[in-house]
């Protein structure tokens, strides 16, 4: 998978909103271009892109995330599609849990890299990741039978 599609997927998971995700990708691409001009010889690691995008999102106000109209559209689509249902449940997660999930599962960062980007101890990152998964598993009916 190319870098730009993956970055865009991370943006979707982080922002939970197409327009916001597109803006984040645009900002990140601009920053990457500026960096490449300043340091043409330096490689541009994937984790740099994900870090910039995540910080950009954290630095923006999120008041316009997922308005009622778009939430309604997601719900309509969710009835037809498992993937849309997963996306909807990910969007519903608390921000800190969703970020951990987005960076590790979608962005492909290691636990160490993700903890570094989110400025968290490793144990806090894995805790959030585990909580996010437990919530998703319950919502998507993957939960272990009561035992």
């Amino acid at each position: 998978m190319g870098r730009l599609p993956r970055l865009r997927a991370v943006a979707r998971a982080v922002a939970g909103d197409h327009a916001e995700a597109d803006e984040l990708v645009r900002l990140t691409a601009e920053a990457a271009r500026a960096r490449a001009e300043l340091h043409p010889a330096e490689p541009l690691p994937d984790v740099w892109l994900v870090r910039f995008l995540t910080k950009a999102w954290m630095g923006r106000s999120h008041g316009h995330r997922l308005g009622p109209l778009q939430a309604g559209r997601e719900a309509v689509a969710a009835g037809r599609s498992g993937a849309a249902q997963v996306r909807r449940e990910v969007v519903r997660l608390p921000d800190d849990e969703r970020l951990a999930l987005a960076l590790v599962l979608v962005g492909g960062l290691s636990y160490r890299e993700a903890a570094d980007v989110l400025e968290l101890p490793l144990s806090a990152l894995t805790g959030r990741l585990a909580r996010a998964r437990a919530t998703l598993a319950a919502a998507l009916d993957l939960q272990e039978d009561a035992a």
């Binding site: 599609p5 689509a77 894995t126 998507l140």
Partner: protein, 193 residues
């Protein structure tokens, strides 16, 4: 899921265990069907989340059709069905293609801008993805064009020469990269920079 055992299973599924830890856990799993089942559940969940964001399927295309035009068309895997269709179309069929896409795979960009790109076509959807044509291709290749603005050449992720572009009408901006003898449009969206 919050216990140490669960976090170890999660780390195992995410490929975060070192060799010794991994072998130890695998030994436990092989003797414990419940543990093995939990690992399978974790794997399935991981795969579903990744598919939901990284995979392109019809449902995502449907979702895109409902929303704003999606920004990236070049690299995401285009479904085989869409590829077969695309091969039979020519630039002059943009409007018809846009209608097919809106129904069949719903690429919002084509649905929203297909007709506007008719004359002259600035991009063409080929089996290899979206490719620059006409004035856009010429401007990317270095020709001065009043109607197209292009940015400096910068290396893309795979080392290809890439440049940004802005089209005035319809107002689109994006990124195109050199591929073979042409320019592959790797991202495009509404609005200028």
């Amino acid at each position: 899921m919050s216990g140490l055992k669960d976090q170890a299973l999660m780390a195992y599924v995410d490929g975060e265990l070192d060799e010794v830890q991994r072998q130890g856990l695998e030994a436990s799993i092989s003797g414990d069907p419940r543990l093995a089942a939990e690992v399978e559940r974790q794997r399935a969940l991981r795969a579903r989340v990744q598919d939901a964001f990284l995979g392109v399927d019809v449902s995502q295309a449907e979702l895109s059709a409902l929303d704003e035009p999606p920004l990236v068309l070049g690299h995401p895997p285009v479904s085989a069905r869409l590829r077969r269709r695309a091969r039979t179309f020519r630039p002059v069929h943009w409007a018809a293609m846009a209608a097919c896409l809106a129904v069949g795979a719903g690429i919002g960009l084509a649905a929203a801008y297909g007709p506007a790109l008719l004359d002259p076509p600035a991009m063409e959807l080929t089996p290899d993805g979206l490719v620059a044509r006409g004035a856009l291709a010429e401007a990317l290749a270095g020709a001065t064009a009043e109607e197209v603005r292009v940015g400096d050449v910068a290396p893309g992720a795979d080392g290809a020469a890439c440049r940004t572009f802005v089209l005035p009408d319809p107002n689109l901006s994006g990124l195109a990269c050199r591929e073979g003898s042409g320019w592959a449009v790797r991202s495009v969206g509404a609005g200028g920079v």
